[in-house]
């Protein structure tokens, strides 16, 4: 679960559709409070689905859909949800949305459905989803909640896409299934070939890439854990 709870005062006069505060809701989770690299949430799926770009992209879209939609739904219901059963209510809403995503994938992208298999179902347990519901959607209006969900899921998405980019490039020598290494090797003639690194396709590779991303990010932002 998220460690921070966000409480935001809503100003009396109508706020601009994209005021500075609202922009912050979307942009903060991209770097400064990134759910993966700073809050260290949703790591399991970041390791599991990132061997190739294409399933990772589908996963990112699915998570974005679930986080944004569940944030909106819970925010709309926030005044009627009994406090004592709020976690179960959140879980029910999230589980329904995830099942919908899984059914849609099965109908329209069967190959991806097979590839991602259990990991789509496991979005339910992705801490980012429940974390945002507990920390934000329960106490804020739908539009703000939507922006918050969008920010968090985009923060998650770009990290897993970055991890997948390096894992597919170095592990399989391709990007989105296009054989980059073979193409490069082709430029240098017959005898030249680039070896792929088997470590990258195992979860260990994801840890290493993720660690490097966190390192670079913290060097640039100067973030220190207390």
């Amino acid at each position: 679960m998220s460690t921070e709870t966000t409480a935001i005062e809503v100003k009396k006069p109508a706020e601009a559709l994209l005021s500075k505060r609202r922009k912050g809701l979307v942009t903060d989770p991209l770097v400064d409070s990134n759910p993966v690299t700073i809050q260290v949430l949703g790591i399991c799926s970041a390791l599991a689905v990132t061997t190739q770009m294409q399933p990772t992209l589908i996963m990112a879209i699915s998570v974005t859909f679930v986080v944004v939609m569940s944030n909106i739904v819970i925010s709309l219901m926030r005044n009627t949800i009994p406090t004592r059963v709020r976690i179960i209510v959140q879980l029910a809403v999230v589980a329904t949305l995830v099942t919908l995503v899984s059914e849609l994938l099965k109908a329209f992208a069967y190959d991806m459905y097979k590839e991602l298999s259990v990991f789509v179902g496991l979005i339910i347990t992705n801490c980012i989803v429940m974390g945002r519901l507990e920390a934000f959607a329960l106490g804020n209006k739908p539009y703000d909640s939507m922006l918050d969900g969008l920010g968090s899921s985009l923060g998650y998405s770009w990290i897993i896409l970055a991890v997948a980019f390096f894992r597919e490039l170095f592990g399989s020598g391709s990007i989105f299934g296009i054989k980059i290494f073979d193409a490069i090797a082709g430029l240098f003639g017959e005898d030249f070939s680039l070896a792929t690194n088997g470590l990258m396709v195992t979860p260990v590779g994801a840890f290493i890439i993720l660690g490097l991303i966190i390192w670079v990010q913290r060097t640039k932002t100067g973030y220190v854990e207390h």
């Binding site: 004592r84 059963v85 029910a92 099942t99 849609l104 099965k106 329209f108 088997g198 195992t202």
Partner: protein
């Protein structure tokens, strides 16, 4: 406020009904599309044993289905090689609908064994190869595939393997074409007509060109390779009655022509 038990129970009940309706509705609407996607996937896998993967990948879904329609005929046999027309409950048996994985849980003699026959376009008599489904256990979970045999019923035309959860980069390589191509041209019967199957060896990088019953292994995935070996041997034995009856049939045909 909002804390009374009645409120909580009512709230939960209404929420459950709404979410339940939503889910059952979506599954009703998407059901036909999902079944079509599954059917396409099965047929693609079957064709994968005889058609080049790249070529198959370029075909549109409708093209795959019509290609399958015109080139593949199917039947279901029992362990003795006799054709099964109806299921125990009287409904007609369709080879594409037979779930090999579910049948695997039954005793071998009670199972249904589908056979897919790849033939010349529009002419089911002129057989090009026999495609047999195989099923077994890998290291982590189930593995399955299709083996295509040439008309001598011994030479492997091609294989296609799939898996549920083998280790990426190690056991999962059974799905890659460079591993599957190693099986092409190998023979499942020895010269005396005894089933030998084809065995993937331990270690990788050796040349088994001259040995008709061995293929190069996958480094670091010996348990998956053993699973593949066992799967092939088991199923080729289950199909052996059918294969020998088919062979006998071929020989009488040759005699008749002479």
């Amino acid at each position: 406020m909002q804390q009374s038990n009645t409120y909580i129970i009512t709230f939960s009940a209404i929420l459950t009904i709404i979410l339940g309706l939503l889910l059952s509705g979506s599954s009703q609407i998407l059901g036909p599309l999902q079944r079509k996607a599954e059917e396409l996937d099965t047929k693609k896998q079957i064709l994968g044993a005889v058609v080049d993967g790249d070529q198959l990948g370029k075909m549109k879904p409708e093209e795959v289905l019509s290609f399958y329609e015109s080139r593949i005929s199917s039947k279901v046999v029992d362990i003795e090689g006799k054709v099964i027309e109806t299921a125990p409950d009287g409904s007609p048996v369709v080879a594409e609908k037979v779930n090999v994985g579910k049948n695997y849980k039954m005793a071998p003699e009670n199972r249904m064994y589908p056979i897919f026959i790849y033939h010349a376009e529009g002419n089911p008599e002129s057989v090009e190869s026999y495609i047999l489904p195989v099923y077994g256990a890998g290291l982590w979970d189930e593995i399955w595939g299709y083996v295509a045999l040439q008309t001598d019923l011994s030479t492997i035309e091609g294989v296609t393997f799939a898996h549920k959860a083998e280790t990426p980069g190690l056991g999962a390589r059974i799905t890659s074409s460079d591993v599957q191509e190693r099986y092409q041209g190998k023979k499942i019967f020895d010269e005396s007509g005894k089933i030998q199957s084809v065995y993937m060896q331990k270690g990788e990088g050796k040349d088994y060109e001259s040995d008709l019953h061995k293929v190069d292994g996958m480094s670091g995935a010996t348990i998956t390779a053993n699973g593949v070996n066992k799967m092939l041997k088991n199923y080729l034995e289950y199909y052996s009655a059918f294969l020998s009856s088919q062979k006998a049939g071929q020989q009488t045909e040759v005699v008749a022509v002479n």
